[in-house]
Structure formats: structure tokens, C-alpha cells
């Protein structure tokens, strides 16, 4: 019998959430004033949760490491947010969004959570429009939609290429209203360094003021972790430089199970790495695959000629190009889901067909789209026999209107004009589907400690569809947590304020101070980045886009060795009682060095291929699906939830069996 209880309500899937909401305990408005909630992280999940909980009347303390909640990394999401509005009348529905999300996640997510997500998706769009989020509209004044990978309908709402920014600014504005009312106390430039439990329940945190270095105690009746994903375990990713796993990892070490760490999304369209000095990778929105065609040269001679600068990509004729996604997946073509597109790029590059000096790049070409749009425009404007130059000019104007900011960004970084020559792209770590295990209420295995947004594991299974991260963050924060947390807090109406001058706070504060003092006093010789880069290389080489047992076992040993070296040799300059970015990084990298090993262990245990997790030992051996990922539902249709036991290698596995009552398990075919 598993110790995990997902607490999924009984009854038909489409009624679960409604029935559940009708039956839960509520806290009356007068009592909410006596209840405090801590929210760590102010991205889409944390920001929307903090604002909504404060509107409801709770006293919220919100924390972010940036100088403003508006700068959380949700801000960088480009393409859009999904919702089952069916404004396009193309057959979308709650069920279809649910189905696409479960299928896209390769049948490794919890059905009831995903259905609820699809159900509240429409409320999100209504809420955001009411807040003044300037979504794109068509000429009739109604909301416009675009299409994203892995689905056959247009359900993605967007605000130019800055959808995440606009949604986050919406949540930020809702927060500001509550900060002004005094219902949210905002702690900018603060980092949570540990959680404090009293009688087994989460009752507070220890945080560091990043300006003064002061260690602070904060208490509350519940703690909500909304600190995002752990993609920076790879050192190079599309995450922000400060994105870290510390809050999530600290609650894991205090009793929260960590689920499916090996499910990582490698996004297919990022700007390739250019050198060893590189500090991060930049994503180009998946929406580009609506109009861009992905290819590499068919012949090795052309590959070499391009690498050596003897030929340009535009010199190659159509039949000298291999549009490998269109070739392998005729039904979905360039719009296959992210995991499939990334592996296909790796397959071509591993075979030697990569087109830049590092051999790690493929082309994303807009020439066909420019021509198609140009001809269409010529027709609209009654231009007869337009010249090729005219068609290009008209077509480029349309492409610029759709993707102008992305093209500009590419040109600034790479110094090439993507209107004239194809973009070069390569997959990069982007999002982590795994995270802290939560039940249907979004509560972790620590009572009173919740986890929302990317930081939890719940909705995307083994692979996330494009434009679903924003949807999940806002669903959790606006529409799910505010209900479920009330059910728990209804027991706390007579508890009164939680004191911070107790042994529990003393003990955790001491642990935090000890670690900081260690860093300040260690006489090491190597910088924090030295270790982070070393960890990242192992993760990318052995726990990256494709994995095998030998590599994973090596990775576990090597990561442990780096961790031991880190604790001997790390050097942190400056002082503890001042702004000290190196000290901040040291704490985060120390946690990544543990998480990375658990990640490899999880990948080793999951002897199947599913979604973003591809095990070389588990591929289809023949038939039309030859070489594609082979899932094993008989033995692996479960969530791996890891319990901390000291060393990451000693973590204990708990299984939450996944039941699929409303969807038939099938092989995920995009052919």
C-alpha cells in the first residue's frame, strides 16, 4: 500500500471539481483576517495566488529574489496561453484540451488534475481580459488565436511575442492593488532558505534579505512554494540566471516528496550555443514553427561546404534539402510536439548533418512562408504578374507583423538577417515537468505546505505542450489553490498568530546560518560557476535528450564526486552581511548538486521512454514506428515520488499508480 494519497474526488471526471468545491470547508471572511499565508515566488502561479488569497481576505506575505515581482521568469514566455474557448469554432472543447494534454504528456499525468486544468482554462482568459491584458485581436475586435505544436485546433491566445509578460503584468497589477491595501506584504530581494515545521505542519520560512544579508524568520499558517522549475541544473538553459530549485529542494529535504525529476523539456527552437563563455540560451517561440520549415542538407558534401563557408544555405535547391520533420511525420510535419522535434534535430546532428561550426544546429526557414504570404498579398492588392522582388517584399511585411520582435532578437544575438537566410536553431533545456509531488489539493506531503506552477509535477506528465505552462500557472494560482487551501485552513481559525521565538525556528535558523558561515569561511580555490558548469556538462551529456543505463550510472557517480569537491574547494568572496551574489549562487548550486543526482537516479529507474525522457534501450525496433520512443504502460504507468533519506542515492521510491478511466492509452503517433 502506497503512502501516497492523491485525494482525487470520486465521481465522473467532468463533475469532480464542481462537486468537490461544493463540499469543501470554507473559512468565513472575519476569520480569514486572522490567517497568514506565505507565498514564495511571484511568477504566474505565485503572483496570481498571492493576489487572489489577499482578495479573499487572508494576510499574505510574498517573497521574490528579484527587485520586483514583475521580473519573475514567467515574463519571458513568448508564444501564448491555451484555453478551450472554441472561439474559432474548430471543434475545441474542455474534453479535447484535456485529451490533448494527457496525450501530449505521454499518459504520465494525473487525469483528474488535467481535466480540472482544462475546465478552468476559459476562466483565465475572461479574468485576464477584465484585468486589461492586451491580447491580440482580429479586425472585428474579437480575440485572435494561433496554433501550437501537438494539437489540431487553434486555441492559443497571445499578446504579440510577449504573452508571458502581459499575463504576469496582469497578475502583478492584481498584486499591487493588494499591496496598496496592506493585504500583501511584499518582500522583494529576499530568498527563502528553508521551511520551518511545527508539529509536522509547515508554519514558516527562514529567508535572507539579499541587500543586508540579514536572516529573517517569517511565520504563517500555510506555506505556498511557487518558485518555478529546476532547468538550471544543466547550467545552460533558457531559464533566468537566478532561477533555482532551492525552495523546492529545501521542502523536499524536510519531507516533501519529489516527483519525476527526470521529466525535462528540451525545447526544439533555441539559438545554438556559440562558445564556452555562454551564460544562457535564448528560446525562439514555438509559434515560429507555424510558418518556418525545418531542414538540414541531404548530402554530407553540402554540410561540409556550409560549415567551411563555401556554400550558403540559400544556394541549396529544394531537392538538396531534407525537411526531416515533414518526411518523418507527414500528419503533423513541423508542428510535432516539442520532445519529438528536439530528438529529431539531435538525430540529424548526431548523424553529422548539423550546419554550424559546432555541428549542433539545424535550419528554420521562412522562405516558403514569405513567398506564400507575398503571393496572397499580391492577389489581395490586385497586383498582376508581381515580380519575385515584389512578392518577397510583401511577404516579408506579413512575417514581420507576425514575428518581428523574434526576428529582431535573433538578428541582435546572431548578427544574421533571418528574412534573408534561414535561422539556425538547436534544442535547449527549457522547462521541467517534474517537481514537488502534490495531491489534488496541490498540497505536498508536508501538511500545510503547497506547491503550485512549474515547481510541482502535476499536470504535464512526461512532456508539456506549448502554451500550457502559462495556463497551469494561472489555473493553480487564480482558480485552484484559493479553494483548496481554505479547506485546510478551516482548521486553523482559532490557532492565532504563529510565534517565531520557538525552538523550531531557532533550529532551522541555525542550520541556515551554519551553511552561510561555511561558505564564508571555506578556504577553497574554485568559483561557484566552475562547479555549476561541470555539473551542467554531465547533465547534458549523460542525462540530456537521450539516456542509457551506463551513462546514468556514470552520471550519478560523477555528480557525487563534484559535490564532494564543491564542499572542499568552493570559494565565496565578500561577506555574509551585505549584498553578495556569489553567496546566493553558492547556496543554489549546492542544492543543484544534490538534485542532479536524484534526477539521474530517477532516469535510471524509469526503464521506458516517455515524453521528454528517452531511454535508448526502449525504442521501437521495427514497423512504421521504428526508432520512435517506446513507452511501457504495463510496468511504468506510475508517478515516481522520491522520499529524502540523506544522500540522493539513498532516496526511497514511492509509486502513485496512474489510472486512465476516461482516455484510452495509445501509442503517441504524430505520423
Amino acid at each position: 500500500m502506497s503512502v501516497l494519497n492523491s485525494k482525487v474526488p470520486k465521481g465522473p471526471i467532468k463533475d469532480k471539481w464542481t462537486t468537490y468545491k461544493d463540499k469543501i470547508n470554507l473559512v468565513n471572511p472575519a476569520n480569514k483576517r486572522h490567517i497568514d499565508i506565505i507565498v514564495v515566488g511571484t511568477g504566474l502561479a505565485g503572483g496570481s495566488a498571492a493576489a487572489t488569497l489577499a482578495e479573499l481576505g487572508y494576510n499574505v506575505k510574498a517573497f521574490c529574489y528579484q527587485d520586483s515581482p514583475r521580473r519573475a521568469h514567467s515574463i519571458a514566455a513568448q508564444g501564448g496561453i491555451n484555453a478551450a474557448k472554441n472561439y474559432q469554432g474548430d471543434g475545441d472543447s474542455t474534453y479535447r484540451l484535456f485529451y490533448d494534454t494527457v496525450k501530449g504528456g505521454d499518459y504520465r499525468s494525473r487525469e483528474a488534475n488535467v481535466y480540472r486544468l482544462a475546465e478552468v482554462s476559459t476562466n483565465i482568459i475572461d479574468q485576464c481580459v477584465a484585468q486589461g491584458v492586451p491580447f491580440a485581436r482580429d479586425y472585428g475586435g474579437l480575440l485572435d488565436n494561433r496554433s501550437f505544436g501537438g494539437v489540431l485546433v487553434s486555441r492559443t491566445f497571445y499578446a504579440k511575442g510577449q504573452t508571458g509578460q502581459q499575463l504576469l503584468l496582469g497578475a502583478y497589477s492584481a498584486m499591487n492593488r493588494q499591496i496598496a491595501r496592506g493585504k500583501i506584504q511584499m518582500y522583494n530581494r529576499h530568498e527563502m532558505l528553508d521551511v520551518v515545521k511545527v508539529d509536522g505542519k509547515a508554519r514558516g520560512i527562514i529567508a535572507r534579505d539579499l541587500i543586508t544579508g540579514k536572516i529573517e524568520r517569517h511565520s504563517a499558517h500555510a506555506v505556498v512554494i511557487a518558485s518555478g522549475g529546476y532547468g538550471n541544473v544543466y547550467f545552460l538553459s533558457t531559464n533566468a540566471m537566478g532561477s533555482n530549485a532551492t525552495a523546492a529542494w529545501k521542502i523536499h529535504k524536510k519531507g516533501a516528496f519529489f516527483a519525476n525529476p527526470c521529466y525535462t523539456q528540451i525545447h526544439p527552437t533555441c539559438i545554438p550555443r556559440s562558445g564556452d563563455y555562454q551564460s544562457k540560451l535564448t528560446l525562439m517561440s514555438e509559434s515560429l514553427r507555424n510558418d518556418g520549415r525545418i531542414w538540414v542538407p541531404k548530402n554530407m558534401d553540402d554540410v561540409m561546404a556550409i560549415r567551411e563557408g563555401r556554400k550558403k544555405p540559400t544556394d541549396l535547391s529544394e531537392d538538396e534539402r531534407d525537411y526531416y520533420l515533414e518526411r518523418r511525420y507527414p500528419a503533423f510535419g513541423n508542428l510535432v510536439p516539442r520532445d519529438v522535434a528536439s530528438r529529431a534535430a539531435k538525430e540529424r546532428c548526431d548523424a553529422g548533418y548539423g550546419v554550424n561550426a559546432t555541428g549542433e544546429a539545424v535550419y528554420l526557414d521562412f522562405a516558403a512562408a514569405i513567398e506564400r504570404y507575398g503571393k496572397e498579398q499580391a492577389k489581395i492588392h490586385h497586383i498582376e504578374n508581381p515580380s519575385k522582388a515584389k512578392i518577397t517584399e510583401l511577404g516579408e511585411a506579413i512575417v514581420e507583423a507576425k514575428y518581428g520582435n523574434l526576428f529582431q532578437m535573433y538578428e541582435k544575438i546572431v548578427d544574421q538577417n533571418p528574412y534573408k537566410t534561414p535561422m539556425m536553431i538547436y534544442p535547449a533545456v527549457h522547462y521541467t515537468m517534474g517537481g514537488v509531488w502534490v495531491d489534488y489539493n496541490l498540497m505536498t506531503t508536508i501538511p500545510g505546505c503547497y506547491c503550485i506552477g512549474e515547481a510541482n509535477f502535476s499536470d504535464h506528465g512526461a512532456n508539456r505542450l506549448g502554451a500550457s505552462a502559462l495556463m497551469q500557472g494561472l489555473a493553480d494560482g487564480y482558480f485552484v489553490l484559493p479553494y483548496t487551501i481554505g479547506d485546510y485552513l478551516s482548521d486553523d481559525i482559532r490557532t492565532g498568530p504563529i510565534p517565531t521565538d520557538t525552538k523550531e525556528f531557532d533550529d532551522v535558523e541555525k542550520e541556515v546560518n551554519d551553511r552561510i558561515n561555511f561558505f564564508m569561511n571555506n578556504k577553497g580555490t574554485k568559483s561557484v560557476d566552475y562547479f555549476h558548469k561541470k555539473l551542467g556538462k554531465i547533465m547534458w551529456d549523460k542525462v540530456g535528450m537521450s539516456r542509457n543505463a551506463t551513462g546514468l550510472k556514470e552520471a550519478m557517480v560523477e555528480i557525487k564526486a563534484i559535490r564532494e569537491e564543491f564542499w572542499k574547494e568552493v570559494k565565496v568572496p565578500g561577506g555574509a552581511n551585505e549584498m553578495n551574489p556569489e553567496l546566493e549562487k553558492a547556496g543554489r548550486v549546492a542544492d543543484f548538486l544534490e538534485l542532479g543526482e536524484l534526477f539521474a537516479k530517477d532516469a535510471l529507474t524509469r526503464e521506458e521512454s516517455c515524453g521528454g525522457h528517452f531511454r535508448e534501450e526502449s525504442a521501437e525496433e521495427d514497423g512504421p514506428q521504428k526508432g520512435e520512443a517506446k513507452r511501457n504502460d504495463k510496468d511504468f504507468a506510475f508517478v515516481s515520488a522520491w522520499e529524502y533519506k540523506g544522500e540522493p542515492a539513498d532516496a526511497v521510491l514511492h509509486k502513485e499508480e496512474l489510472e486512465f478511466k476516461d482516455i484510452e492509452l495509445k501509442q503517441r503517433s504524430y505520423k
Binding site: R71, A240, G275, S527, P573
Partner: protein
């Protein structure tokens, strides 16, 4: 390439700062400006010195965290970008580069190149929102059609990343482009009309209380804005304020 850097070093807000010279070598033209700063800091850490503190996070031009004043220009010598998007190909071997924090009374220095921009937070808290609770039963998102033109213009104003380049570059340290952008976004949308008068009055009052200067229409803010926010937003804010005061 090899470069000389003149960088503002200041221990904390109470200590006097000064310019300090550093040398960096073998800088690739493909590096971003902040990657060049990483090279310098790695060099400083390895030689036992304290690295230069600077704000940065997303490194893709959208979070608004990075804030350097480079060779006398906010976000350095290129247009339509933040410092993290500035590349070393804009500089030449042997160049001397001067790097300072944002300079404005309302943005005190915290350490080295890091400044305190919480004045922007307080302006937003004074009225940068539409008062609508999260309920799940607001009206349908398509209930009020909004002309594409107005929606696009609202989006252009909403693109502000709150970096503060407009303030840093303005000889009066005015925050009018920042405030104008937020006021404009809501003024252009039907949802923003109900609270329009109070919003503009409260935000402008807070802006003045924070010690930002006035606008004298030199337009430097528009030139340096990484997101191309237009001076029109300032005109619209003034119009909104006048409308509000005539009520």
C-alpha cells in the same frame, strides 16, 4: 579583443563610491556585454577580489532587471535593446568602456551597479491596476469587442519592462515615459475607463512624491527605451490628467 573597463564601485548605500579601472583580455565579439562582465567577475573571484555587483536575470531583454549606464548611454551604444542584449561586436579592440549605475535621485545605489527602483513599485501600487477580483465569473472575454487598433496600441504601451532607462537618461530624471505607458495601456481599453481619473491622479501624485523630475520634451527617453515606448504616451497621460482635473 582586449579592453579597459572603468567601473563604478560602491560598497553600500552609505559609503562613497569611486571609478575603478580593470582590464579584460580575449573577449569574443560574439559575447553579450553581461557575459563579458561574467569574465571579469570570474577573474576577480579567482584573484580573491570581490566581484562587481550588477542586476541581471532573464538575459533575453524582457525582465527589465539589467541597468547599466555604458559610455554615457542607458543600456549602451545600440538601440532597441537592454544591456543583456548588447553584444561585444559593438566595441573595438583596445576600447575603454565606462560603466556606471543608473543615475537618479529616486534610484539610490545599493551596491556597485545595483540601484533601488522600488519607487516604480510604489507608483504602480498607487493605481496601476484595474480593480477586479478573481472570481471565475467575470463576463466572457469576447463580450466587449475592442478595435484591433486600440488593442495593438495598448499592447505597445504595455510592452514597458520597467527597467528605468527613461529615468536614467533624462536630464530631469523624469519617470513620465514609465507612468505614461501604464496610464496609456488602461486609457486605451474599455476596462480601464471606470477608474481612469483616480488612476492618473494617484499615479502622477506618487511619481512627484518620489522625487522624479518633470518632462521638458527632449525625447531622450524615447530614444533610449529598449521597447520603443512612444512619447505619445506622455501626451496621453497629460491629456488624461487634464480630463481628470476638469471633472
Amino acid at each position: 579583443m582586449n579592453l579597459t573597463l572603468k567601473i563604478w564601485r560602491q560598497k553600500d548605500s552609505n559609503t562613497k563610491g569611486q571609478m575603478v579601472d580593470y582590464k579584460v583580455t580575449d573577449i569574443s565579439e560574439h559575447m553579450s556585454f553581461l557575459e563579458m562582465m561574467d569574465v571579469l567577475n570570474e577573474q576577480l573571484v579567482n584573484s580573491g577580489e570581490e566581484p562587481v555587483a550588477f542586476d541581471h536575470d532573464c538575459r533575453e531583454g524582457i525582465c527589465g532587471m539589467c541597468s547599466m549606464y555604458i559610455n554615457g548611454e542607458a543600456h549602451g551604444p545600440d538601440r532597441g535593446i537592454t544591456t543583456c542584449q548588447l553584444h561585444m561586436r559593438m566595441f573595438k579592440d583596445g576600447d575603454t568602456i565606462t560603466i556606471e549605475p543608473w543615475r537618479a535621485k529616486a534610484f539610490p545605489v545599493i551596491k556597485d551597479l545595483v540601484v533601488d527602483r522600488t519607487a516604480f513599485e510604489r507608483i504602480q501600487q498607487a493605481g496601476g491596476y484595474i480593480s477586479v477580483n478573481t472570481s471565475g465569473n467575470t463576463q466572457d472575454a469576447n463580450a466587449i469587442p475592442i478595435s484591433k487598433h486600440a488593442a495593438d496600441e495598448a499592447m505597445d504601451a504595455a510592452a514597458c519592462i520597467g527597467c528605468g532607462a527613461c529615468v536614467a537618461t533624462c536630464k530631469n530624471s523624469s519617470a513620465m515615459l514609465f507612468v505614461g505607458a501604464k496610464v496609456s495601456q488602461y486609457a486605451l481599453l474599455p476596462q480601464g475607463q471606470i477608474e481612469a481619473a483616480d488612476r492618473v491622479r494617484n499615479m502622477v501624485e506618487q511619481m512627484d512624491a518620489e522625487g522624479f523630475g518633470n518632462c521638458t520634451n527632449t525625447g531622450a527617453c524615447e530614444v533610449e527605451c529598449p521597447k520603443g515606448i512612444s512619447l505619445d504616451t506622455i501626451a496621453r497621460m497629460n491629456r488624461e490628467l487634464m480630463k481628470a482635473n476638469l471633472k
